[in-house]
Amino acid sequence: MVPSYVPLSYYLLLSGFLFACGVVGFLIKRNIISIFMSIELMLNGVNLSFVAFAAHWHALAGQVFVFFVMVVAAAEAAVGLAIIIAVYRTRETLNVDQVNLLKL
């Protein structure tokens, strides 16, 4: 028989898997934009566990924290992409292995 509810641990497993995929992408990707997207994937995994725990403990504060995470992610995306543009302008590359000097 298929149960009609979803256990909390399933949500946590999915959230952990997304976070792990983000960490692996952060490690193996060499394009700086792909690395940045891996960070976004990690933030999304954390958001899922926030919402799952909010539903589990009947605490709406978990959903409010998701908004704060989104705000921080938006600010981080704006500043990070501006940094990527500045790096590309000076070095003409997006490969992080070739960006190994603080000052040209």
Partner: protein, 170 residues
Amino acid sequence: MHLILFLAFGAVCVGGAINLLAQRHPINSALSLIAVMAALAGEYLLLGAEFVAAVQVIVYAGAIMVLFVFVIMLLNAGEEEHTMGSRVALLLGVPGMLTGSVLMAWVVLRHSGTESVPIGALPGHPTDIAQLLFHDFLLPFEVTSVLILIAIMGAVVLANTPEASAGKAD
């Protein structure tokens, strides 16, 4: 029914995340990340968080990912090439992450039990969220507005060309 929906959205999430890792071209990674975010919005709906689901689609899959796609097209990002460092990371990082994930899954399954998350028991109504956000979390809310302002100014300063600012100074 809820379990089937959870598994369907979860399959899209897992497939999109793996596709993000497998694709070499950043634009393909960005599109699979959008799929992951849209499926996550479905998961939030299952958890009764309608407002969070709407914001996830509008802000995350909409605004932030559009920013990413714009930058990818602006910088004309091509396929990434594998280097020595990325091979080492692939050889060491993936087994390490697999070990960590299995350990985490074991802990979660062992200790959290299998209590159900009742569907719709927590109505994430915008009124309730606004009550919480503008009363209990008012100070963090104001601090994040300052953070956003600083981020806007930082992005403008960083993305500005040196020639343009030098021309303005003259």
